[in-house]
């Protein structure tokens, strides 16, 4: 296959795959939640309700695309786009299988951290532009939460960087050929997982949109396709974090069986989907935290834990030479 064609195919796949998974999740999450809670979930449209995705899409596209007159219009429109752009850009550096990546940067991990720090903006801008108190309160909560959890999200990954000796995601996966980093870096895995939950504002940490107190938080004023962008952005972000967890801790494409690219991609997909299922299971089983609990947990438990993890990892790596 010519090199350029292959590259274009990779780009197309990287663009389409997360979108497909995210769209599928709008159905899959409800089905899984129903399963965990002993209900049926959406099962009417198509086989097992799969076509619910399509039905939802048609519904949301035919809704009125309304911008409140009191809103700051350009910013209001920009905010939902940012969340999709910021999360999508991160997929560019993920190495799905040997040679299957849009750009294998030598600062790939830093690029991911930088891009995920951008997604704060969509929430901040949405809250500001909506010009309503629930949106503002939700976005202020969310900025505090995401900034705080970003700190040790980065720190928790430094253990992996120390062990692999590089920020290059491909090299990190190759370094896990013998032993997945989830074993020596279990604390890092745990912290990054929780930080991922907080960054995607999933349920134990969904204070920015706590519907019982803030209506819908920062996207209270959004409707139609703009609201769907936030919704989809959350699912794309979940997919991103699952993929990053796979790359950093679960050995990426490594797995038993043949070494062909297709099998490698299959392993990657399997691990990612399994992690997404865990994300949904957590949503089904945990209650929402209080805001001060969230902050205390972050700064008093997770931050020291990630620092200790980094210190011990560094010491062990030095000691082994």
């Amino acid at each position: 296959m010519p090199e350029l064609l292959r590259y274009l195919l990779v780009i197309l796949g990287v663009v389409l795959a997360p979108l497909t998974i995210a769209a599928g999740l709008t159905w899959g999450e409800r089905r899984l939640l129903a399963l965990f809670q002993d209900r049926y979930g959406p099962n009417r449209v198509g086989p097992a309700g799969v076509l619910q995705v399509l039905a939802d899409m048609i519904k949301i596209l035919t809704k009125e695309d309304w911008v409140p007159p009191f809103a700051d219009r350009p910013v209001f429109v920009l905010a939902p786009a940012i969340i999709i752009i910021a999360t999508y850009l991160s997929f560019a550096v993920i190495v799905f299988a040997p040679g299957i990546a849009v750009a294998e940067l030598n600062i790939g991990l830093l690029f991911f951290l930088a891009m995920s720090s951008l997604s704060v903006y969509s929430v901040a801008l949405a809250g500001w532009a909506s010009n309503s108190k629930y949106a503002l309160l939700g976005s202020l909560r969310s900025i505090g939460q995401m900034l705080s959890y970003e700190v040790f999200m980065g720190l928790s990954l430094m253990g992996v960087v120390v062990m692999a000796g590089t920020f290059d995601l491909g090299a990190i996966v190759r370094a896990q050929a013998g032993l997945w980093y989830i074993v020596p870096q279990f604390i890092g895995f745990f912290i990054f997982f929780i930080a991922g939950l907080a960054e995607t504002r999933r349920i134990p940490f969904d204070l920015p949109e706590a519907e019982s107190e803030l209506v819908a938080g920062f996207h209270t004023e959004y409707s139609g396709m703009k609201f769907a962008m936030f919704f989809l952005g959350e699912y794309v972000a979940i997919t991103l974090f699952a993929a990053m967890l796979t790359v950093l801790f679960l050995g990426g494409w490594h797995g038993p069986g043949s070494q062909s690219t297709l099998v490698a991609l299959g392993w990657f997909l399997l691990k990612t989907l399994a992690l997404i299922a865990v994300f949904i299971l957590i949503r089904a089983s945990l209650p929402r935290l209080r805001y001060d609990q969230l902050m205390e947990f972050g700064w008093k438990v997770m931050l020291p834990l990630s620092l200790v993890n980094l210190l011990v990892t560094g010491a062990v790596v030095l000691w082994r030479g």
């Binding site: 030598n106 720090s117 951008l118 901040a124 805001y291 700064w299």
Partner: protein, 201 residues
């Protein structure tokens, strides 16, 4: 004068975006919009770092400047939202003299840069890749430089950060009437402490 290679066109576009942002930052009335205009400035600078071959610094620029400092600024503007109506004159009475002085300073800076005789061999670049043998921009080399030649500044910077963090907490913390002090605020950071205040604002 400037040859129009792809590299140069990208640099010029970056320069245009950065400078437009900078001008809007000082000229925009509404403070929150001025803060939004800082985004293209910081992003443009990150782009310059990238094109000049300092990828690590570009990532750090996005991570710290855009991801943390600018967010904090927007946060502060949001918190003090009603403090100044955007109809208020944004500039004080020094506006005109400062503008003139700025123009003169700018002329001096550009003049100085233009009149300096740069060593001819280094005066221009036209591609991203460094010459072979000069590829020391890797993160490990930077780490070695930082922790061997510049250990003292590094440690001082760490202490400064710690002092800054504690200072921000102490400053932003509200004196409470002590009784219902269920959640001690000392776990909070600069980002967190104003957050608690928000309930009362």
């Amino acid at each position: 004068m400037i040859e129009l290679s792809a590299y140069n066109i990208i640099l010029l576009l970056l320069a245009a975006v950065t400078l437009l942002g900078a001008v809007r930052v000082i000229a925009t009335r509404s403070v929150i919009h001025a803060a939004f205009w800082l985004f293209p400035v910081f992003a443009g600078i990150a782009g310059f770092y990238l094109l000049l071959g300092a990828q690590f610094l570009a990532a750090i620029q996005v991570l710290i400047y855009i991801g943390a400092i600018l967010v904090l600024i927007i946060f502060a503007v949001t918190l003090t939202r009603n403090a100044m109506d955007s109809d208020d004159a944004p500039a004080n009475r020094f506006g005109v003299p400062v503008f003139l002085a700025a123009i003169m300073l700018l002329a001096a800076v550009i003049g100085a840069a233009g009149h300096t005789r740069w060593p001819a061999a280094f005066a221009t670049i036209d591609h991203i890749a460094l010459a072979p043998g000069l590829e020391v921009t890797g993160v490990p080399a930077l780490g070695v430089t930082l922790l061997q030649h510049y250990l003292l500044p590094f440690e001082i910077a760490s202490v400064l950060l710690l002092a800054g963090m504690i200072g921000a907490i102490v400053l932003a913390r509200r004196e409470r009437p002590s009784a219902d002090d269920d959640a001690p605020a000392d776990a909070a950071t600069a980002a967190d402490a104003p957050q608690r205040e928000k309930v009362g604002v």
